[in-house]
């Protein structure tokens, strides 16, 4: 890393110390540390995961970005690369894994499916986009994105990390943002605990309509 990247301007360094000390801000050093060692979680859902593996393999080699250490345990991972179609049956596990990840943590939606449902959006077992449950940092369109597109997305993530500041990031703030995502559960259909009141109201409304309809028939 070149001197200029870390050195933040605005401070004068005495001549005799030039080249010996580096003055930087906490943010810069913090961001540098994070951007250079984003460990992804070893976690593949569907076709996109194969391109993710290809990107990890020799030809594209994500190790050049410090991203080669795929961790099977969420506790050791910094980034969740959601690579593939998210299904209703799988989403409780995904949310649980995300909650178990230590902060700072990032989510990258790889491919059309993870970004917004993809070609299977209309299916009855498909969640139309992981951003319904998790805060997504980078969206990578494509079906599947080529490994190079994936690496381009990773660079985008690094750019985002570079712009962050300790005082601003989500996870050091008090309040609603740091609350874990409630884990959805499987009832007659997928139930998102955050939407229970709406579901209840809508279902009651439907029941009332049905009752009214049957009355008019009678």
């Amino acid at each position: 890393m070149s001197n200029n990247e870390l050195n933040s301007p605005g401070y004068e360094i005495p001549e005799e110390l030039e080249g010996k000390v580096a003055i930087t801000t906490l943010d810069k050093i913090y961001n540098f540390g994070r951007r250079s060692s984003v460990w992804p979680m070893m976690f593949g859902l569907a076709c996109c995961a194969i391109e993710m593996i290809a990107a990890q393999a020799a030809r594209y080699d994500m190790a050049r970005f410090g991203m080669e250490v795929m961790r099977p345990s969420p506790r050791q991972a910094d980034m969740m690369l959601v690579a593939g179609t998210v299904t209703k049956k799988m989403i409780p596990a995904i949310v649980r894994l995300y909650n178990q990840m230590a902060e700072p943590k990032y989510v990258v939606a790889m491919g059309a499916c993870a970004s917004g449902g993809g070609p299977f959006k209309e299916g009855y077992n498909v969640v139309a986009g992981i951003d319904k449950f998790l805060p997504v940092d980078v969206y990578i369109p494509g079906c599947p994105p080529t490994p190079q597109a994936l690496v381009a997305g990773m660079i985008k993530l690094q750019e985002k990390i570079d712009k962050q500041s300790i005082s601003q990031v989500r996870w050091y703030k008090k309040g609603a943002d740091t609350v874990e995502t409630p884990i959805p559960f499987l009832g007659p259909d997928l139930i998102d605990p955050r939407h229970i009141p709406e579901i209840k109201a809508k279902a009651a409304e439907l029941a009332a309509l049905a009752a009214a309809a049957s009355e008019t028939v009678a």
């Binding site: 020799a58 030809r59 594209y60 080699d61 050049r64 059309a112 970004s115 917004g116 449902g117 993809g118 070609p119 299977f120 959006k121 209309e122 986009g129 951003d131 940092d137 980078v138 969206y139 990578i140 369109p141 494509g142 079906c143 994105p145 080529t146 190079q148 597109a149 690496v151 381009a152 997305g153 660079i155 985008k156 985002k160």
Partner: protein, 198 residues
């Protein structure tokens, strides 16, 4: 057991050879680390040594037929006016498997008749499966598959008409052979038409 471990050694021999090769091979490319030549060599049958393409400094060439998200082609008319080729015939929207194309046809407000131009054109890139059917069946060469894959973003990607429009010269640059073929076909058609009229 006699000879136990021979198989492992044999296998390790392979890895050792590869290991040494990767350093020797690198010597051939000193100063040409990111060159197109090296990329080509590494995708050929003679590839040996390091296999890595150091994206983004070095990029794999995109083959002509490569398809990513579609775009709409416009011709540059006089005074740089963008003349979109699409006639909003709707064939691409009908052929699209996940049905991620939305087209609003333009109507002439005075007559109420449709004008061959899309008023709105949307492609939901978060549904698009990059299948290429739209480009394959468009009768006006108006929608084509893009080569630009570096479009990761911080939000969802619903592409509207403005985002989708790219110039015919850009198209000619990414797909020269296809473009030449299509230009020729259009010219032949024009000529046939003229001959008929004349």
């Amino acid at each position: 057991m006699y000879g136990y471990g021979k198989g492992i050694l044999k296998g390790l021999g392979v890895t050792l050879k590869r290991f040494v090769e990767s350093y020797l091979e690198d010597l051939n490319w000193i100063g040409k680390k990111y060159s197109a030549e090296k990329t080509a060599f590494h995708s050929s049958k003679n590839q040996r040594g390091t296999f890595t393409i150091e994206y983004p400094e070095q990029k794999l060439p995109t083959p002509e037929e490569f398809r990513f998200v579609p775009f709409l082609v416009y011709d540059e008319g006089e005074s740089g006016k963008k003349e979109i080729r699409c006639t909003s015939c709707g064939i691409c929207a009908k052929a699209c498997p996940p049905q991620c194309i939305w087209i609003v046809r333009t109507t002439d407000p005075s007559t109420g008749r449709p004008v061959p131009q899309p008023a709105e054109f949307y492609i939901d890139a978060d549904i698009c499966m990059n299948c290429g059917f739209c480009a394959e069946y468009c009768p006006f060469d108006a929608i084509k598959m893009d080569h630009d894959y570096e479009i990761a973003s911080y939000g969802r990607n619903l592409l509207n008409k403005e985002r989708l429009m790219k110039s015919a010269s850009y198209y000619a640059s990414i797909r020269p052979l296809n473009n030449a073929r299509e230009v020729e076909a259009r010219r032949a058609k024009e000529a046939a038409k003229a001959a008929k009229a004349g």
